[in-house]
Amino acid sequence: MYHGGRIRLNTKNVHQDVFISILVYLALGFLFVVSLSIKGDSGLFPRLVMGGLAFLNTILLFRGIKKTKDARDNGYNIENTITLQDIKWPLIVLAVTVVYVVIFNYTNFFVSSTIFLIGLMKIYKMKSWKTILLVTLAFNVFIYLGFVLALKVPLI
């Protein structure tokens, strides 16, 4: 952050690997509890795999802490790749995709695809309705010919 000729260090900044590591520990804890209910030898390999993951996660945590400490000691900000600003729109696209699948489940593929393609292209701020409709039509025709007629996939 630049403020009147002086660089102000965001000392609350923590490397994202630390958060990731904590999340992985939480997930591992939950899965370990679940694995205890698996009977016999079947639970052995999963616990072995979780042990390996926990070991590597510990290394990740220490590295994350070291990166955070180094940044603070040397006076520079940590630039995490996962920020709310960056992931906001990709997550909206993901949510739209989930809605697409739900509509597909309750109607059919072509109805849901038409709504999805038009909706997503508008979200992407495409202006030309001619292009939007042409792409939607071409996609539906391609899928109908390729999947419904040729591969006999029940999409309707």
Binding site: K39, L94, V135
Partner: protein, 513 residues
């Protein structure tokens, strides 16, 4: 199996149509930066499900080689490699394009790719059957070590952090555990969901990890105002496409040498087309009488890189078909395609299913030859397609991902699996984990666990004694240890070559000043 019988199967209409479609789609996808060969194969696997096994598998192998070749087109004309395997091609290819010889550079790349791919297909045809016989001597312990050996390639797929790469691989192992235990039938981590009892569907998971996550990454660029995958201005393509006889005589030794290098690099687990092309390029430069021409539009540079990266494809199929060990991320997905058709790698593939296997190998040979003709026709159009707005590409890829995931088993649950893995893949990529090690882990996880437990039963309580009574297992254990250190050597080699190239570019800049 008579050659004429195989030829009849390969030259049937459905196989030829599949081959043609596979090549056209893959060359275009390969030319689009960001859309990799891995994604092309993952998206097309569902299409092959309803096809006869020969047509389906020929299509997938054609997609593999076509996408690697397609990457060279934008590498040459726009200095933007369509796939990482074409990075070395961009050096001399773009230098030629700047001199107005872009079309000729594509011609050299095409000829080199065709010859490299053809040599690798021949290597596959002649080397795979005898190697498959070795698999007859394998028991559970040998397969266990073979799978662990396959896992060691994670090091080279790991990206910047080995720890994150290994974590991704182990996550894959865990995902492979979900479902009914193959040996006892006990459900593991299914949370009462019936659809999970048969395990996580591989192909939808791969489509999510490679396609949906890529569109989510693309969305970040769209929001930042980037409109198309490439921003470079149009390059006019004119002049001669094929090299003259004199030029061909100059590049032929380089092509043959690089092709052989490519085949061997392909066989090595973990060394994909990117490493193959750098090794081929560096060797061509080292042995050239005029190394100073490299980096300034040397035809040998393009020939070396392109023949090597396409030769890697056939090489990578050798351990895949004979032992079930995928040498790269694309090969791992191809293994999924093989399994969808009800085929398992190994000796049976060359005996019981010999008609399918040989037809696929000959089909792959044919694909490499046809690639030249199709490349000639569509290379100009492929460049234009790289200008298609991402705002169109993104929704279309997502639509294809949904229909592809559904088509495998006509299951909406599979589509949700795709969405979940897209979400997971996106965050893994953002956090620097990479998705390829996870996919590899999923594939090899089941193989590791089941064979280890079978070996335990066979050892009758004395695993160490059992291990020392099996020489192939000891040899494979040694290979595991060696290959654990191989990625470090490979990475050093690759960075050294890139450093050489950077030095070369600096020299060029100085010359211009």
């Amino acid at each position: 199996m008579q050659a004429i019988e195989i030829l009849g199967m390969v030259l049937s209409l459905d196989v030829l149509v599949a081959l043609f479609i596979g090549l056209v789609v893959s060359i275009i996808m390969g030319a689009l930066p960001g859309l990799s060969a891995t994604m092309a194969v993952a998206l097309l696997i569902p299409v092959t499900f309803g096809m006869n096994p020969i047509a389906g598998l020929v299509m997938l192998t054609a997609v593999y080689t076509g996408a690697v070749y397609g990457g060279s087109i934008t590498a040459i004309l726009l200095h933007t490699p369509g796939t990482p395997a074409s990075a070395a091609t961009a050096i001399d290819g773009y230098a030629m394009a700047k001199k107005g010889e872009g079309f000729k550079a594509i011609g050299i790349a095409t000829v080199s790719s065709v010859i490299g791919g053809t040599i690798s297909a021949l290597a596959l045809i002649f080397l795979a059957p005898p190697l498959a016989q070795v698999s007859l001597k394998f028991g559970p312990l040998e397969y266990f070590f073979m799978a662990v050996f396959g896992l060691t390639i994670i090091g080279s797929l790991a990206g910047d952090s080995m720890v994150k790469g290994l974590m991704g691989g182990i996550l894959g192992l865990f995902i492979g555990i979900i479902g009914l235990d193959q040996m006892s039938g006990i459900p593991r981590f299914t949370f009462g969901i019936l659809a999970l009892e048969s395990g996580i569907s591989m192909v939808p998971a791969m489509i999510g990890m490679f396609s949906l996550s890529q569109v989510m990454m693309m969305t970040e660029d769209i929001v930042k105002g980037k409109t198309s995958l490439t921003e470079e201005s149009d390059t006019v393509l004119k002049g001669r496409f094929l090299p003259t006889l004199k030029e061909f005589k100059v590049i032929l030794p380089t092509i043959i040498k690089s092709s052989i290098i490519g085949v061997f690099v392909g066989i090595l687990p973990g060394a994909g087309g990117d490493i193959g092309s750098w090794v081929g390029y560096n060797e061509a430069k080292r042995s050239s009488k005029h190394p100073e021409r490299f980096g300034h539009g040397a035809v040998e540079g393009i020939a070396a890189a392109e023949s090597a990266n396409n030769a890697v494809t056939g090489g990578a199929l050798i351990p895949l078909l004979t032992l079930g060990i995928p040498g790269s991320a694309v090969a791992a997905i191809l293994l999924g395609g093989l399994m969808i058709q009800g085929l398992s790698p190994g000796y049976e593939l060359f005996t019981k299913y010999a008609n399918i296997t040989y037809s696929v190998m000959y089909g792959f040979l044919l694909a490499n030859i046809f690639m030249g003709f199709i490349g000639y026709v569509i290379s100009k159009q492929a460049v234009k397609l790289s200008k298609v707005p991402m705002t169109i590409l993104g929704p279309v890829i997502l639509g294809l991902s949904v229909v592809g995931s559904y088509a495998i088993q006509n299951s909406i649950f599979d589509v949700y699996v795709m969405v979940f893995f897209g979400f997971l893949g996106y965050f893994m990529r953002k956090a620097g984990f990479g998705t390829a090690p996870t996919i590899l882990g999923v594939i090899l996880g089941t193989m590791i666990e089941s064979n280890y437990r079978r070996a335990l039963v066979l050892s009758k309580g004395s695993m160490i004694g059992y291990f020392f009574s099996r020489p192939i297992a000891i040899l494979l254990f040694g290979l595991v240890i060696v290959s654990m250190f191989a990625p470090i050597v490979m990475k050093k080699l690759q960075s050294k070559m890139k450093a050489d190239f950077d030095g070369l570019v600096s020299d060029e800049d100085r010359d211009m000043e």
